[in-house]
Symmetry: C2
């Protein structure tokens, strides 16, 4: 069944709401995107693109959540990041003109805009402020990737699990009962921090025993964020 309740978002309105990178475009450039883009809707589990494929454009998330991941040697997923409203994905491949180095799959039903590659390239050439903002974005992600490398290489699974809970709190927030707003399977949690599903389950029940969290099925309720901070050693 088609969804009829959502109209195609207008870029300047959307970027004002979501804070996307397109807020740095001129009015004409914004119109140009509105004219050229395609609006698409996806459901949980849908794949937007796969590692290794050549990409003809990139996506700007209007609503929903997408996981960006690499597939390792034995087929195991490594989640690299999550994209949420205002984020863009696949821009890396477009700008470096390489095939996709990651896959993207929907975690929560999404509305996204697909924007052809050439339009991004042309804005980089024509709008230096936009180019600089994109550079900032890429450089910022690079810094985060470096931190993540250090964490995975040096911290224990226990520390990493506590840390990722804090990151998820920070990125997606808690509802009025302190439940994490983003809902992930245990396997997905494992695939972020690079461990086995069973390890996540065991550590989560330890956290529960230590009154740091409560668990209701897939939902995680945060009871003691400070306690998690202590475990995670976030402040080195």
């Amino acid at each position: 069944m088609k969804q009829h309740d959502v109209s195609v978002p207008v870029c300047d309105k959307c970027s004002a709401e979501t804070g996307s990178i397109f807020r740095h475009l001129t009015a004409e450039e914004g119109d140009m995107i509105n004219f050229k883009k395609e609006f698409r809707q996806f459901r949980r589990g849908d794949v937007l693109y796969r590692e290794g494929s050549r990409i003809s454009g990139f996506y700007c998330i209007h609503s929903g959540i997408i996981k960006v991941f690499k597939t390792g040697f034995d087929g195991k997923e490594q989640i690299i990041r999550f994209a949420k409203p205002g984020d863009i994905i696949a821009y890396r491949s477009v700008l470096s003109n390489e095939v996709a180095c990651t896959s993207a799959k929907v975690i929560e039903d999404c509305n996204v805009c697909f924007i052809p590659s050439d339009i991004l390239i042309s804005f980089v050439r024509s709008n230096p402020v936009f180019a600089h903002e994109l550079l900032k974005l890429a450089c910022h992600e690079l810094g985060e990737a470096n931190s993540f490398i250090t964490d995975i290489a040096q911290k224990t699974v226990r520390e990493r699990l506590a840390e990722i809970l804090l990151v998820l709190i920070n990125d997606f927030g808690l509802d009025d009962q302190n439940y994490l707003k983003i809902s992930l399977t245990r396997e997905e949690l494992a695939n972020i921090i690079g461990t086995a599903t069973e390890s996540v389950i065991r550590l989560l029940s330890e956290f529960k025993a230590d009154k740091l969290v409560e668990l209701t099925g897939r939902r995680i309720r945060i009871m003691d964020a400070r306690g998690l901070e202590k475990i995670s050693n976030v402040f080195d």
Copy 2:
């Protein structure tokens, strides 16, 4: 004692030799760098900048090798990458206008040029081709960081050690006797792949027993690169 045998490199000549990003600058822009930059020399062990410090410019490597690393929770180094002639470092912090997220230390004596921040920013604004090339560079590094995350999260220490030897062969090459040109301590090797020094030592002697490498003090002679490829599972 000062070294007098090296004259300050001229940028257009240097970038032609080393293939640095500055080959995309106009003649005037190149002159401007030549005028504004500072030439500096460093010895093994010298620190160019430290994590957390605010940076007033970036470095372009003319000769030598530098390791870029983060310091983890317990003071352990995590090597993020190596910079060699033609590479630039610290550009990330300059462009994103954040404090340095890594430290940089000399592995092999270096001649480098220090270039003030504002000049990089102004080129990004004035030269769209240069901005695009910088974006490509950052995006490419981001892709490599993502692969590295997946490797560290999913591969065994053994696989990672084999893989990093292949990477070092690829990046720094072998001399006429198949010795790796870059010379690292066992601890540094450990700090790339995220393991303990003793583990590197043990695995290297296993590789030696399996006729994959020969060891002469710090020098590593590659005897069977194909064998290393098999171990590393580089082709997933």
